[in-house]
């Protein structure tokens, strides 16, 4: 499928359309944040304007420090998107590669890798991440690395399963008989077979890491130098927004997290339906 027609098909499904529109809006918001945000999200000097409910001037109200919440959310989109994108990329590359290696080489390497996968998957991520961040200090890059460290396992197992079933297919065996090298097999046949899964898994990983970042920032383990959606909620928690009844301080950042994650997930599901012929046929029947 050509890239152009792929995007076109994506656009024709309602989930794909929703994903593309919402995600594009978020990307525009992140790129042009200084132009879109009406106020300075780091300005904590407007104490006279504290805890204003939503109005035309302050769309999503203001927080305890008088900072405009809408502006904070606009700037926060940068962190969420970068964390989601970077983690998804790292997880897909590392998880995909290890999965292909396990599937192609089999034997000892496979057993070892899958044991590690089993192990990583039973680890409770959040407390361990908190421990690592406590030692190393909260920073953007450490956060991404930690998220990749806990994210690669699931994808590599799925990729391995696809490679294993693909290896038994006639055309791959024919290629082996024709003298194809392992590297040629991986590049030409096995890796392309995993693309549909990789795409949907990348989307889900991106969504999941956005949520994880939000959770860690909510607990106070985000990068202290930048604003993120989780951190707005953390500020709300430490300033007792619940007791103050500042509902706008809680609802809007959460909605932003939800929308970002949901749009990426929708895009992933729509892409999966397109790339996976079995699912596509079923769709066309409807």
């Amino acid at each position: 499928m050509k890239r152009y027609s792929f995007l076109k098909h994506l656009w024709y499904s309602s989930q794909g359309k929703f994903g593309i529109i919402t995600l594009s809006l978020l990307v525009i918001m992140a790129v042009f944040a200084p132009l879109i945000a009406p106020f300075d999200p780091y300005d904590i000097t407007q104490r006279g304007l504290r805890l204003q409910p939503p109005s035309w001037k302050h769309l999503f109200g203001t927080d305890w420090y008088g900072t405009d919440i809408f502006s904070q959310i606009v700037y926060g989109s940068r962190i969420s998107l970068i964390i989601g994108g970077a983690t998804a990329l790292g997880v897909t590359v590392i998880g995909g590669l290890l999965g292909v290696i396990a599937g192609v080489y089999g034997r000892g390497i496979d057993t070892l890798l899958m044991r590690i996968v089993d192990f990583v998957m039973v680890l409770p991520g959040l407390p361990i991440m908190i421990m690592i961040l406590t030692y190393v200090g909260n920073s953007f890059y450490v956060l991404i690395m930690v998220l990749v460290l806990f994210g690669w396992a699931g994808i590599s197992r799925v990729v391995r399963a696809v490679v294993l079933s693909e290896k038994k297919r006639g055309y791959v065996e024919a290629a082996i008989c024709a003298g194809a090298t392992k590297w040629y097999l991986i590049k030409k046949h096995l890796l392309p077979a995993t693309y549909p899964l990789l795409v949907v898994n990348t989307a889900f990983t991106a969504a999941g890491s956005m949520l994880a970042e939000a959770g860690l920032s909510f607990l106070g383990f985000g990068d202290p130098r930048v604003i993120s959606w989780g951190k707005i909620l953390n500020n709300a928690r430490t300033s007792n927004a619940l007791v103050l009844g500042a509902w706008w301080w809680i609802i809007f950042p959460g909605l932003a997290i939800f929308l970002a994650s949901f749009s990426v997930m929708s895009l992933g599901v729509a892409a999966e339906k397109l790339l996976n012929p079995k699912l596509r046929d079923r769709r066309e029947e409807v």
């Binding site: 039973v122 407390p127 690592i132 607990l219 909620l233 809680i250 959460g254």
Partner: protein, 320 residues
Amino acid sequence: MSFPYLVKRIIQMVLTIFLALTLSFVLIRALPGNPAERFYGDPRIPEEVKEQIKAAFGLDKPVWMQYLHFLKQFAKGDLGVSYTYNRSVTSVVLERLPWTLFLTAVPTVVSMVAALKIGVYIGCKRGKLADKLISCVAFALHSVPTFWFALLLVLFFSFKVGLFPLQGMFDPKTEGFAKFLSLIHHVFLGWLTLFLVNTPSFAVYVRNMVVSILGEEFIITARAKGLLEREIRKRHILRNALGPLFSMLTLRIAGMLGGAVLIETIFSWKGMGLLVLEASRNSDYPLLQATVMITIVSVILANFFADLLQTLFDPRVRFE
């Protein structure tokens, strides 16, 4: 349950715990900014004092001896003394463990029962409105941060309606049964959060199992025998969906016990999760390490029991 399977599973579990401990050991020593380094890392400290500190921590010995010592201490349940509580970290953590289990286990069990009911129902009526609705809700819930959902519930039920307390564990003035009621009153929103977040996705999982079971030949046989639809659902569908539900549970336990940090923070619920946060905030390293390690071990043990339950309900697994 077959004996060899049990033995195999126990050996596997012990190996996993061993691996987890090894990983903790490596992490604690390899990470920059580890606590021992803070004691002797200052360049103004003279060389002899540095040696003394290292000896006191056992850091002058070779790594493998430190490792053996670490394992021995863990086996004895001696994980050091908490800086903030000034007593054995193991006792502090074990005091908190039941509270985390109380918070997470109850809604999980209720969720599973509800998911079985709902899942079998929508699975048998796939493509109908109820099925589509619950599948949509489950998909959307994947994108809802659980902690935010909890905040919304608190915002509505505690702040707006005033039905539940904002946070805390129980009213300190109450005694006996009243204290228990107060406890339920305080934990309820936490339970509700976990129940509402987990049930739809559990139900969709059961639904997918049910859909594949419906295509099996024994269902056709059961229909041919003239069994009532109710009987088929109970004896053949429900029974077969139960095993896989437990296997899905094993994948979720880590996330649920780990995710307790967030829920406990919101409700000021004094369990293991809040302890991790406290220890981190107070730079109480022995406590932090012990809490994380005991959380890991709890997850592994919980997985073990979920697996055993699965084999009870689904004998096929044992022979794999």
